[in-house]
């Protein structure tokens, strides 16, 4: 064979090998965590191993739409996981256990199902945290039972008026947090019967006492949490008319549970937080229970592994603000 032919063949072979080999080689050495809409598989892999104290480097990419990544109950800023781009995250765990990671940008009606776990092994010097029993369980509240208040205020109760009225009332037993947790606004309304105030005035006092259980900062945090996590189903104005409400209702109509007559625990329209009787009949322990445990098939996600206790309480405070006119400081 002529030398030129040999040279040409070598060049062609080298070019071909480089073109095919380089990308394949690098691809096999790039472990990525792929994010996909839940309908298309969710996180892959969805179980990650880690060790206490050892930094965990994760490279995340999305295969379809914009997703996000955060770890439940951990103090970290959520990062966006963009289609075709890689986001690098380094995490260090100081306690062993199972951590939940989840998607933080809405990616379809099943966005909340996009979760995975990080199993952190090893020992930690800190003592094992005590598992707390949720308050609704301690108080033995059936969070699935209907909790409509028999009456609702005719106008939106105002906390400022309530504050003025409450100044001259013996209401100390109602202003402690335990009361707020265990009782619904309606129960407080009933308990105020002895004060001789009109219905509207009593509701005003209720709204004032409810507001005193939270702060403007907490309400602002609750509003942000609501708009990022709840508004897509429950509506930006709390009316249960979010963009996915119709999907949920349709899924409910088509589900086996509904067909078997068990409509109340099948997929359904999200709760309307502007429904006065429903909200005013709910204690914050009940609301906390709903948020922690989820809807058991109704389409309401369980947030127990995602939100901290403080975040849930901020959220609940915000939910009540759909029913009361809180004073703006």
């Amino acid at each position: 064979m002529k030398r030129s032919e040999l040279l040409a063949r070598i060049l062609i072979g080298a070019g071909t090998l480089l073109a095919i080999g380089t990308p394949l080689f690098v691809w096999t050495r790039t472990p990525l965590i792929h994010a996909r809409m839940a309908e298309n598989g969710g996180w892959n892999p969805d179980v990650i191993q880690a060790e206490v104290g050892k930094p965990l480097h994760l490279s995340l990419t999305s295969d379809d739409v914009v997703h996000g990544f955060a770890i439940g109950q951990m103090d970290m800023d959520a990062v966006d996981v963009e289609p075709g781009k890689v986001t690098d995250v380094t995490l260090t765990f100081d306690k062993p256990g199972i951590y939940t990671f989840y998607c933080t940008r809405w990616c379809g009606p099943n966005h909340w199902r996009m979760r995975g776990t990080i199993e952190v092994s090893g020992s930690s010097p800190a003592p094992e945290p005590v598992t707390t029993i949720p308050l609704y369980a301690t108080l033995d509240i059936d969070i699935d039972a209907p909790h409509e208040a028999p009456v609702a205020p005719g106008v939106l109760p105002t906390a400022i008026r309530g504050q003025q009225l409450a100044a001259s009332l013996p209401i100390s037993q109602f202003t402690n947090p335990d009361f707020y947790h265990a009782n619904s606004p309606y129960q407080l309304f009933e308990a105020l019967d002895s004060t001789g105030l009109s219905d509207t005035e009593k509701w005003d006092v209720v709204s004032y006492i409810w507001q005193s259980n939270t702060t403007p900062a907490a309400l602002a945090n609750g509003r942000e949490l609501y708009s990022q996590n709840c508004a897509a189903c429950h509506g930006e104005n709390g009316a249960g008319d979010g963009v996915f409400a119709d999907d949920l209702a349709r899924a409910g109509e088509a589900s086996m549970q509904t067909m078997n007559g068990a409509a109340d625990m099948s997929m359904q329209l999200p709760v309307d937080f502007t429904d006065a009787q429903r909200m005013l009949g709910a204690s914050s322990a009940l609301l906390q229970g709903k948020i922690l445990r989820g809807g058991m098939g109704t389409g309401m996600p369980m947030w127990g592994s995602i939100f901290t206790e403080e975040e849930i309480s901020d959220l609940i405070a915000y939910l009540y603000s759909f029913q009361f006119e809180y004073a703006v400081p």
């Binding site: 032919e5 690098v26 790039t30």
Partner: protein
């Protein structure tokens, strides 16, 4: 404007005759092509961040339809890597052959398929699935690989570049539109060819191979089937082959009267209009129908697509050229006058492509740095943001292309009508209506 012979310049002639510059280009193209296949198959499934989608459907397509075809005719075919492995294996060499004996079966392409109907069909096969093809890297990777292996397989059975000449979906329209280009490869003197013994331009010699495109260079009058591979430049012992610059669409002055080419013109004209409506329009039902392959809506979309290009458009055109006469005469006139649709179709595709190329060209920068979407940043441009380019000249550019295309096709219609001894005005009106529709869809 007269012809200017490029090959009279010794530097140009040397470069075109030498196999090394061509080989260098081949190696780059082949590497890019194989890289695109791998990127499509293992890279990110997100089209805008995958080399295969960005470099095939944005970069390569833009260069093809805006530069290569209008200015260089079959210029892309001259550098395309698809036939190369098959051809090298056929020849048993990558440069000059040690002997002239062809390897493998070397059969003649069957007579019944010696036309561009198979190319019409292969183009349509891609066109009907285009929404999925243009947006899904793995599908693009598979299609590129399929064409690659089909070319190798055909080279093992048939002589010359059978895939390129008779099957390639892109080659069908490149060939048709190459007639408008200002570049051509022709012989210099007919008498020299008449006296030539052995015709090595077609049969090969120690200097090179017989025309891979199954064309007799001595008889070339149009660009349609010459792939500008320069093989005949190497084999002609009488230095009778030239590459010339000539006026645009000189080939259309002698219109061909082939039905396969006529229908190719309708396929291209129709699909440009359908794509303008479906892909670039604001109507979601059409996009859903085009994308959701296998659904009832998609079947309806396919049926309408085929009806428009095979029935509606040709039928309306037939009305424009109909006369009471023998069917064979009518067919000839129909095919001759349909050459007016060639420059029109080219400009329709230019106008359509300008839109999505200018809108999405910024993806090219990012894709250069991170071709597989694995998080690389080779040139620092991986995070270049998407930004439509030159949107202020988009509408003017499209209008210019479409108005220019209409004037060009009207002129072509006149010449074709002269050939066919008929009136060109109905055909011009047809082109006018199509242009108005395309303007409304795009601008």
């Amino acid at each position: 404007m007269a012809k200017v012979e490029l090959t009279s310049n010794p530097f140009i002639k040397r470069t075109l005759k030498s196999r090394w510059p061509q080989l260098a280009v081949f190696i780059v193209m082949l590497a890019g092509y194989l890289f695109a296949i791998v990127a499509g198959l293992v890279g990110t499934p997100v089209g805008s961040r995958n080399f295969s989608i960005v470099f095939v459907w944005i970069a390569w397509w833009a260069i093809l339809i805006l530069v290569a075809v209008p200015f260089f005719g079959r210029g892309w075919c001259a550098v395309c890597p698809i036939p190369l492995p098959g051809e090298w294996l056929q020849r048993g060499a990558v440069l000059t052959p040690p002997d002239k004996k062809p390897k493998w079966l070397n059969r003649r392409w069957p007579k019944a398929f010696r036309n561009i109907w198979l190319q019409n069909i292969s183009f349509l096969l891609l066109a009907l699935f285009s929404s999925v093809l243009l947006t899904t890297p793995s599908i693009t990777g598979i299609v590129l690989a399929a064409m690659f292996f089909a070319a190798i397989g055909l080279s093992a059975v048939f002589e010359r570049r059978a895939f390129c000449r008779y099957l390639c979906p892109v080659g069908g329209f490149i060939g048709l539109y190459s007639q408008t280009a200002p570049i051509e490869l022709r012989i210099k003197d007919k008498q020299v060819c008449a006296a030539c013994e052995g015709k090595p331009c077609y049969n090969g010699s120690i200097d090179g191979y017989g025309c891979p495109w199954d064309v007799f260079p001595g008889g070339l009058t149009k660009n349609s089937y010459c792939g500008l591979c320069m093989e005949c430049l190497r084999t002609c012992p009488h230095d009778n082959i030239a590459v010339n610059v000539r006026p645009f669409s000189a080939d259309l002055a002698k219109p061909s009267a082939r039905m396969d080419e006529a229908f190719k013109a309708f396929i291209m004209l129709g699909s440009a209009m359908i794509y303008a409506g479906v892909l670039l329009g604001p109507w979601s039902a059409l996009k859903d129908a085009a994308y959701n392959v296998g659904t009832n809506a998609w079947f309806i979309y396919v049926a309408l697509f085929l009806a428009i290009i095979f029935v509606v458009m040709p039928a309306l055109f037939a009305l424009c050229v109909a006369r009471f006469e023998k069917f064979t005469l009518f067919k000839k006139r129909f095919a001759t006058l349909s050459t007016a649709l060639i420059p029109l179709g080219l400009m329709f595709w230019v106008a359509f492509s300008l839109s999505f190329v200018l809108t999405n060209a910024s993806y090219i920068l990012a894709s250069l740095s991170d071709p597989l979407g694995l998080g690389w940043n080779l040139f620092g441009t991986a995070n270049a943001i998407w930004q439509p380019m030159l949107t202020s000249i988009l509408a003017p550019g499209q209008s210019l292309a479409l108005v220019g295309g209409l004037i060009w096709s009207a002129r072509t219609a006149q010449k074709a009508a002269n050939e066919a001894q008929t009136l060109s005005i109905p055909v011009i009106v047809y082109c006018f209506i199509a242009t108005v529709v395309m303007l409304w869809l795009l601008v």
